[in-house]
Symmetry: C2
Subunit: 246 residues, 2 copies
DNA sequence: AAGTGGTCTAGACCACGCG
DNA sequence: GCGTGGTCTAGACCACTTC
């Protein structure tokens, strides 16, 4: 019945030892959240190894979300994760502040676009449908952690582009258009940073990300919008409390 | 208002080109789900580069979940993802079969343990509390994709270890102990493979994983168990449909 | 026995950040 | 202009899988 657990733990690799060593320093508080690590060259000397091997250890810690990088600026110790329940629609600012932290929002782009194939499929649209696209970056304690693309049906939101898009879109929907949320669907999956997302969050190409695609319907079951969220994966933990499904 | 999108797309790196090339072959169906890729050495020759660079491209595709590896066996094209709503408590087999796929379960270990610090905290237990630990590996179409550790309160489940633990624990709870689920809490976060998890799923140390920690209460709000799930991150997409929270 | 991925070495050049 | 991370080269040995 009970099976033994691999009797011979093989000796740890250099990568594992370096990872372990850095993790210990972080846990002990010697390397504090937000602090920059020494340069890769300095670390590789200190651990008597090459940069490649050292980078491999950093990559594992990055995958675990214990450290993060800013492109060409260096490696930093990850602050505590934001607790995020995707069902509490947006009010990003309120959610962040209720956890004792500071939020800001920056609009990168806002304008009409033509839906691409993936969006048409997700939103159930006719090919080449027009949409409004709003790109925003949101920060947690002055650190950019979230890049969001909102895709809205233009006919439901006339004049939206002239409004202040740095605040909650949920509030704009409700107060200016009388549109409230009903059922929503979320897809959560890890992915890698590319193009616009990588640039917006200051990540190198290929860095790990947590993607959340939300499809929002109104009280009558009609489509409101589709949001593509890309989180720095060290910055967040998805926490969902639920009663069981029927 | 609208900001231009980085006017000069810098020329793609070798890593990006290799990634692009492999992705295209996969999308076109020339490399089919489950197929093994050529060896790293063969690929690095074909792309006229070194193994390190080639491996970097494979690592990005792995992060995206387009390919996966089996330790020392090679790289494979990822099959379609299982759609998983963590709120539909277990019945792993039923969930898998309803999506037209095949499930199996293997018990690695089952026995009493002493709760570690993390578990005491998550479950709100006194230090050194006794628990029952059940380790299982679950496969999708003959591929091991999920490693689960269940931690149960021993006083609620006398004699459990003598039962057939390859089938649904949910069913055992209900049929043999009259215990059903009430509220549950899920934490979802990407992490890296280590030790027992890596061995159980045949992953190299440091490979990306999706961790889901579930804390299950019964109808009276009393703790039932805590499950630590570790998914191959290419094998699953978390999909949650929900009405908005009050 | 041959071939594979896992691990590691010892460099190099470049674009960019920062002072 | 210096140091940084980002990218890349050209090898090597070992443990393990597969034949």
């Amino acid at each position: 019945m009970s099976q033994w657990m691999s009797p011979d733990e093989r000796q740890p690799t250099q990568v594992a030892q370096i990872r372990q060593s850095l993790q210990e320093q972080i846990r002990a508080g010697l390397l504090r959240p937000g602090m920059r690590l020494p340069s890769e060259r300095a670390l590789s000397e200190r651990f008597a190894t090459t940069r490649i091997t050292l980078k491999e250890a950093l990559a594992v810690l990055e995958t675990e979300g214990q450290i993060y990088r800013e492109e060409r600026r260096g490696w930093f110790v990850a602050p505590p994760r934001l607790i995020y329940d995707p069902r509490t629609k947006s009010h990003f600012q309120a959610m962040v502040e209720s956890q004792g932290r500071a939020a800001t929002t920056r609009v990168l782009q806002a304008g009409p676009v033509v839906a691409n194939a993936e969006l048409c499929q997700r939103m159930g649209l006719a090919p080449l449908s027009p949409l409004l696209k709003i790109c925003r970056v949101r920060s947690l304690d002055s650190r950019d952690v979230l890049y969001v693309e909102h895709y809205l049906l233009p006919e439901r939101f006339p004049g939206l582009l002239e409004m202040d898009l740095t605040c909650s879109l949920t509030r704009l929907y409700a107060e200016r258009y009388g549109i409230g949320y009903g059922q929503s669907t979320f897809d959560i999956l890890p992915t890698a940073a590319h193009g616009a997302v990588a640039r917006a969050l200051g990540l190198p190409q290929g860095a790990p990300l947590l993607q959340i695609c939300r499809l929002n319907l109104d009280g009558q079951g009609r489509l409101i919008d589709c949001d593509m969220e890309y989180w720095r994966q060290d910055a967040v933990v998805i926490r969902i409390q639920s009663d069981p499904l029927p």
